[in-house]
Each structure stands twice: as C-alpha cells, then as structure tokens.
C-alpha cells in the first residue's frame, strides 16, 4: 500500500512483532519523578520553555540506537536537555560541569556497608 506519510519513525511500533509482555510493575523512582516534575514546570503556563510535544520530538529524532538503549525516563531527560541546549537556555558545558561536581559529591559519600 502506498504510504503518503513517508517512512514510519522508530517510535511508531504499533503492529510490529514483539515478544511476551513483560509483566513488570516497577516502582517509580525519585529521579524519574523529578524528570517529570521539571518537565511539567518548564512547560507550564508561566514558563512555556519546553513543551511535551518538543520533548517527544526530541526523543523521536535522536536516533534509534539511543532511543532503544535509554530507559523511558532517561529518554525524556535526554530529550528535554537537548531542547534546552538547542534553545540556548542552558549550555552543554555548564551541565557537564554540574554533572562532574555531582559525581564527586556522590563518590565522597562513604559507601554504606
């Protein structure tokens, strides 16, 4: 059948062959809620910095390999970050600096026995 809409995106999995449904009901982790919270705040009526549609466009266009190796909320986090960088709101350098500082703080903490 002719498809006037062009090739389908890698996120468009409806109808694809796939295995058994993973009957997992995993806990919702703090960092995942934090991603959702920040996304909601950045998209709210007073800020309008990043919309849900923009985040979706982000993870639907960052490549199938990245899409398939990132977990659900990691996709959202990465896509939101990409959009913020694209809009010049934050820079990759300042984010990386904050991540490095965070890693140091994390490793400074004694590992609980």
């Amino acid at each position: 059948m002719e498809n006037d809409k062009g090739p389908k995106g890698y996120h468009d999995v409806g109808g694809d062959p796939a295995g058994d449904i993973p009957m997992a009901d995993l806990p919702w982790l703090h960092w995942e809620k934090q991603v959702e919270a920040i996304r909601g705040l950045l998209g709210d009526g007073t800020r309008r910095i990043v919309s849900l549609d923009e985040v979706r466009r982000g993870f639907e266009s960052f490549g199938v390999e990245k899409y398939n190796t990132l977990s659900f909320y990691r996709r959202r986090l990465e896509a939101m970050t990409d959009i913020l960088i694209e809009k010049g709101i934050v820079s990759r350098a300042e984010l990386d600096e904050a991540i490095e500082a965070g890693k140091l703080r994390w490793t400074d903490v004694d590992t609980p026995s």
Partner: protein, 205 residues
C-alpha cells in the same frame, strides 16, 4: 548501563549504576535551572507531590459514580474531561474519552507511539504499558495480549482497541457487577482495579 529485558527490547530498565547516574544528571540539570532562576527546589518538590497524588482511587470514583448515576454516566460519555472535573479531580489532559464495555463489546487502551495514559485519573502507567511489546502487539493481536493477562475474551464479544495520543486519553468504563445494589459505594470502588480501566481485565466482581 541500561539493559533490555528479553530479545525484543520489551522494556529498557536502568540498573543500579544507571539509576545513580540518572539521579546525578537530573540533579545537575535542576541545579543549573535553579541557578538561572527558571525554577526553585520548592517548586520541584511540590510538583513531585502533585504527580504522586493521582491514582486508581480517582478512576474508581469516576466509574462508581457512572454506575450509580445514569445522568452522570451520560455526561461522562459525552465529555469525559468535564465530567471527571465535576468530581473535583484536576484534569491535565486535553481530552478524556470514556469508552464503555457492554455484554457485546470490550474496550482496550494502548498508546503505540509513546505512553499516553490518563495520568490525572489513574496516576503513573504500569511498566508493561510503556513496554515495546505491549505497544506493538496490543494493536496487532489484542486477543492474544488479553490472554497473557489471563482474560480469554469470547469470540462473540467485539474487541475495540483505542490508540491514545498526547491530547486524547482514554478510560474504560467497565460493566457494573450484576448485584450492584448489594454493595456500598466504598465497596464498589474497592472492586475496581487499574487493569479494568485499561481493559486488560473485564469482569468486576
């Protein structure tokens, strides 16, 4: 590093190191955004509390109201969003479409593109709902999917699958138990599970 469960990228799950890394990355992003005055830590904390508050209890409330109040049921079917808001449930979705099960018809909800779900009524979707396997197969072989959930739907019952999107979220209105009058409203609410409202379960009893 995150890893796949199963051979079909069914669900990408972070391991412990991945979760720690993600926590560090989101903290860093939050710190940078706070530094620019774009949000505050308090706003993030209260936004998290708001995300945590909706849950199946709200969906159950909507269903029981519809079972016990025919006028409400009609309003719910014609404008789901407005009818849910009548119950003082804040709705963040643009449209809520309520699809009703009957003895001849069963409804199933999915989101093949992403993970769209009536979060303001049901809370966070279960992990399987966002898995590639559910998204892919729910529209190709829904009866087999239902069987995996333990629901063997009779061939005499028509099955309709609803594919949600960002602006249109569905909610299944299950059939009430036959002896509805026997139960208090509270008891009825307790009979309803999340799976009924997605459509991977059918009988409420």
């Amino acid at each position: 590093m995150p890893h796949d469960q199963g051979e079909h990228e069914a669900l990408v799950i972070e391991d412990e190191a991945g979760n720690i890394e993600a926590q560090i990355v989101v903290d860093a992003l939050q710190e940078v955004l706070i530094g620019k005055g774009l949000l505050t830590a308090l706003e993030v904390t209260s936004a998290i509390a708001k995300l945590e508050s909706p849950g199946i209890h709200l969906g159950a409330q909507v269903v029981v109201k519809a079972w016990t109040d025919p006028d409400y049921r009609a309003r719910l079917r014609s404008d789901g969003r407005a009818a849910v808001q009548e119950l003082k449930i804040p709705v963040t979705e643009a449209r809520i479409i309520v699809v009703e099960n009957t003895p001849e018809l069963h409804n199933l909800i999915t989101c093949t593109l992403c993970s769209c779900y009536p979060r303001s009524i049901l809370g966070q979707p279960p992990s399987w709902y966002i898995s590639k396997a559910y998204r892919a197969r729910s529209v190709r072989e829904p009866r087999r999917v239902l069987a995996e959930f333990g629901l063997d739907l009779s061939e005499n019952i028509q099955l309709v699958v609803h594919d949600s999107n960002a602006d249109m979220r569905y909610l299944v209105l299950p059939e009430p138990p036959e002896d509805l009058e026997r139960f208090s409203l509270h008891e009825l609410e307790a009979l309803i599970s999340r799976d009924h409202l997605i459509g991977v379960a059918r009988e409420v009893a």
